[in-house]
Amino acid sequence: MDSSKTKPKTGNRKPKTALDRLDRAILNEIQSHFPIESRPYEEVGRRVGASEAEVIRRVQTMYETGVIRRIGANFTSRKLGYASTLCAAEVAPEKLQLFVEVVNRYPGVTHNYLRRHRYNVWFTLIAESEERVREILTEISQATGIEVLSLPAQEIFKIKVDFPV
């Protein structure tokens, strides 16, 4: 079902970069159905009614304006032998900068959010083994004096990162 046709217009909620109908059609295709074939943008063009050159031009522009963060693969870290966890910490305002600096230094910290809660810093950590995850968390606690809650997934019900636009 194509929800973009039935959704009411939210004029005051427009993204900073105005996307037209063709941009949106392209985004929906390359988010969820990126063609794994030699000329993917030609195929996208066929689906949305535009030339390959026009699709590429639009995609490049949306990359430059920051609408598209990246194009590529998301891996199942566990299948590649990696361990992952969600971490939470209660960090006092005066320690926030140090804590975030220490945590963000690790390449395996892929997402980190400040949240409005007693537990105000939430980050995800991926590492090559359970042992390495524990090691990193100990290092963080030692460097900052802050305890970190580790909340590894026990069951995954949904991961969806596509947005209808």
């Binding site: 990126f34 074939e37 995609v59 809650l149 947005f163």
Partner: protein, 155 residues
């Protein structure tokens, strides 16, 4: 098991795809395989579940989903699976995970909720709460993105 070609392609996929007419050709060159081999390997990695998703990732702040919150729930263990599946069925929920509770932290079900505004997220959470029959929840609105990047495997 991964084939040699698959392993090379995984390494080459640590970089983003270029926006060019034949992006898989460029990737294949980096992997030292032919374009056909690279395409076949990506399809097979997707099928076997090594690649969870292939495509564009948007900055949702720019695409109109400005607010996001982690909504955490306390679910009786016996109901966890049923409730988790039900929450996952909600459109606004993009991620839904069960995680064991920790000392001082009783929540065991996590749902990532995206919406146009905090008010919308509050309303969505109330709706979900009614739907699953669980009143014990908390909403953790995101105030700032401190880091967001893509994992580089085998590097």
């Amino acid at each position: 098991m991964l084939t040699d070609v698959e392993k090379r392609v995984i390494l080459a996929l640590q970089r983003d795809l270029e926006v060019v007419p034949q992006p898989f050709q460029a990737l294949a060159e980096r992997a030292g395989v032919s374009e056909e081999e690279a395409l076949a390997a990506i399809r097979s990695l997707k099928e076997k579940g090594y690649i969870r998703r292939f495509g564009a990732t948007l900055r949702h702040q720019l695409s109109g989903f400005e607010a996001n919150a982690l909504v955490v729930w306390i679910i009786p263990p016996a109901e966890l699976s049923r409730v988790g599946k039900k929450l996952a069925g909600h459109r606004a929920v993009t991620h839904c995970y069960a995680r064991p509770p920790a000392p001082g932290w009783p929540y065991n079900l996590y749902s990532m909720v995206h919406g146009k505004s905090p008010e919308e997220i509050r309303a969505l959470a109330a709706e979900m709460s009614k739907d699953i029959g669980i009143a014990d929840y908390d909403i953790l609105f995101s105030e700032a993105e401190l880091k967001k990047t893509t994992m580089r495997y085998f590097s």
